[in-house]
């Protein structure tokens, strides 16, 4: 009887071990991407859509076997644009195995979380504050810094002004949200305007959520603005230009917006007539460029289940987040292998991305290096034409306005 029981026990143990594939056989190799994004809050239209494309891009690569056999574990958190929620989520997920990067979608969050990023020796993305370029650390700007983009727009305005047969330089107005993001282009952009002889009017800043913008627009028009640069997150820029159109200002003033300006799926869809002729400077592909990007459209068709014609401008932002992570992961795996893969390896890998064509045209060449935290130095200009966003320039290098400011 005892012998029978012993045999039964051994057989049971052998069967149990054989039926435990996850632990006994090779575990799936993964690396984590923590996306502290906004799916339902104030900027969900921009960040949430970008995050969905980011996750879809990882799924696309995972289904093909991952990055050199390593699959990306995407962790998307709905922070509702609240720093406290983002920090709470970071506390929850910071010990995820091989967490290499946290995407922090606001400048305020990027600054608040930085001591933890530093302590945990991982890296984070931040939108566009030039301070992260001025003070090099483990935070990587996922765009061209705002002041560099503004400086590129000033160059374009001067060029456009002179092309139209006007002498000298134009008078430029600036209209944006009254918050650190809204003011950021001036930190270096103002100095750049002085450098190239542009008369940059005092910034007009308005509260987030303003319904009408006539007061600020009339003030800039009265001061003789030939061009007005508009910041915010679409539909803010669309609504500013809509008000400018209603006041008859779009006839005599050229409106130019920053990266988060009129989106083909948001503002352009709502107010195509008012936006006709408006110009967007962007470090991400927009409009028809995005619709013609082979990999992005393939991903969109496969995972978004809506027609490609509905792809928003923010698609290229999410695509860029994923592709830079993937390219960094590829280098890190080559340098240290999977067993030693950690945030420090990813940090070192990101410093080697300079001049890589990471996104195959969805952004300009990458600029991350030991001396640069800029995703790219390149921007492109687009114009709203017949209810679509079309390119009017090729990628062009943006001036270094960050270095002109004392942070």
């Amino acid at each position: 009887m005892k012998r029978k029981s012993l045999v039964l026990l051994i057989v049971t143990l052998v069967l149990a071990l054989a039926a435990w594939p996850g632990q006994i056989r090779a575990e799936e190799k993964t690396a984590a991407f923590l996306d502290l994004t906004d799916f339902t809050g104030a900027i969900a239209g921009l960040a949430g859509n970008a995050s969905k494309v980011c996750e879809a891009t990882f799924n696309y690569f995972n289904e093909q076997g991952g990055i050199d056999g390593v699959k990306v574990q995407y962790i998307g958190v709905d922070t509702r644009y609240d720093v406290a929620r983002a920090l709470s989520a970071y506390k929850r997920y910071r010990k995820t195995p091989r967490l290499l990067l946290a995407n922090t979608i606001s400048t305020g969050l990027s600054k608040a979380i930085y001591p933890l990023i530093e302590r945990d020796k991982i890296i984070n993305y931040t939108p566009g504050d030039g301070e992260f370029q001025a003070r090099l650390g483990r935070t990587f700007i996922y765009s061209t810094p705002y002041q560099d983009g503004f400086a590129a727009a000033l160059d374009w305005m001067k060029e456009d002004w002179q092309k139209k047969g006007n002498p000298g330089a134009p008078v430029v107005g600036f209209l944006s949200w009254d918050n650190p993001y809204g003011r950021e282009p001036f930190r270096g952009g103002k100095e750049y305007a002085e450098k190239i002889g542009i008369n940059l009017l005092e910034a007009e800043l308005f509260p987030v959520g303003s319904l009408k913008h006539d007061v600020w627009l009339n003030r800039l028009a009265a001061k003789g603005a030939n061009y007005i640069y508009v910041g915010g997150v679409d539909p803010t820029q669309t609504n500013v230009i809509r008000d400018g159109h209603a006041l008859g200002l779009t006839q005599k003033i050229q409106f130019v917006t920053d990266y988060w300006g009129p989106d083909r799926a948001v503002g352009v869809k709502a107010h195509p007539e008012a936006l006709e002729g408006a110009v967007v400077v962007s470090c991400f592909s927009r409009g028809t460029d995005t619709l013609n990007h082979p990999m992005m459209t393939e991903i969109w068709k496969k995972y978004m289940k809506t027609p490609v014609s509905e792809m928003p401008g923010s698609a290229s932002i999410g695509f860029s987040w994923a592709m830079h992570y993937i390219e960094g992961l590829r280098i890190a795996l080559k340098d240290v292998g999977y067993e030693k893969l950690d945030g420090e390896a990813m940090y070192q890998a990101f410093l080697k991305l300079k001049d890589h064509d990471v996104t195959k045209g969805a952004t300009g060449l990458c600029d991350y290096s030991p001396t640069s935290r800029r995703m790219s130095r390149y921007v492109k200009f687009y114009r709203v034409k017949n209810a679509e966003v079309v390119p009017i320039t090729d990628w062009r290098i943006a001036p270094d306005a960050v270095s002109l400011h004392k942070f």
Partner: protein, 165 residues
């Protein structure tokens, strides 16, 4: 009365001396004071006045210059938009001073997104018409030091809406 032998008395004495010595050692080592969290006021009505006069979180006993996250434990059946079931809902965050103390006002985003659970319009304005405020009740709140992992606890009561006269 029961009589104890001298051996038993000696054993009691030895245990007492050891306990006192251990307590003394702990005091001498200057172990960290317990982390504390206070909310003022700790009883609130969910009215728009909260945005003008937000609750103040204060705490002590954390590490110096440490990030502290203040959260609310959600009882079964209470959900907060964007917070997965079983997780805590964030109320605020602070960085302590050199002594490990902090004091902050609850931020507008946390008031809107967590206490009122508003929706957002395309113009980036909170939509109170679609808000789903947290139900009245007493909630446990905790502040956690992100480095020291020290935790301070307190209660926050959401009062039923005042009766309209």
């Amino acid at each position: 009365m029961k009589k104890y032998s001298s051996k038993t008395w000696f054993l009691f004495l030895a245990v007492g001396v050891m306990a006192a010595a251990l307590a003394g050692c702990a005091a001498l080592q200057g172990g960290p004071p317990p982390a504390k969290l206070q909310i003022a006021p700790d009883k609130i009505f969910l009215t728009p006045d909260l945005l003008k006069n937000p609750p103040v979180f204060s705490g002590s006993g954390f590490g110096p210059k440490e990030i502290v996250v203040i959260e609310m434990i959600l009882p079964p059946g209470v959900t907060v938009k964007g917070v997965p079931p079983g997780e805590n809902a964030a109320l605020g965050n602070a960085t302590t001073d050199e002594k490990g103390d902090f004091e902050i006002k609850m931020g507008a985003m946390s008031i809107l997104n967590t206490l009122f659970q508003v929706e957002w319009t395309p113009l980036i304005k909170p939509d109170f018409k679609q808000a789903k405020p947290l139900p009245p009740g007493t909630y446990e709140a905790l502040a956690t030091g992100m480095v020291s992992e020290r935790v301070g606890r307190t209660k926050l009561t959401i009062l039923p809406p005042p009766e309209k006269k």
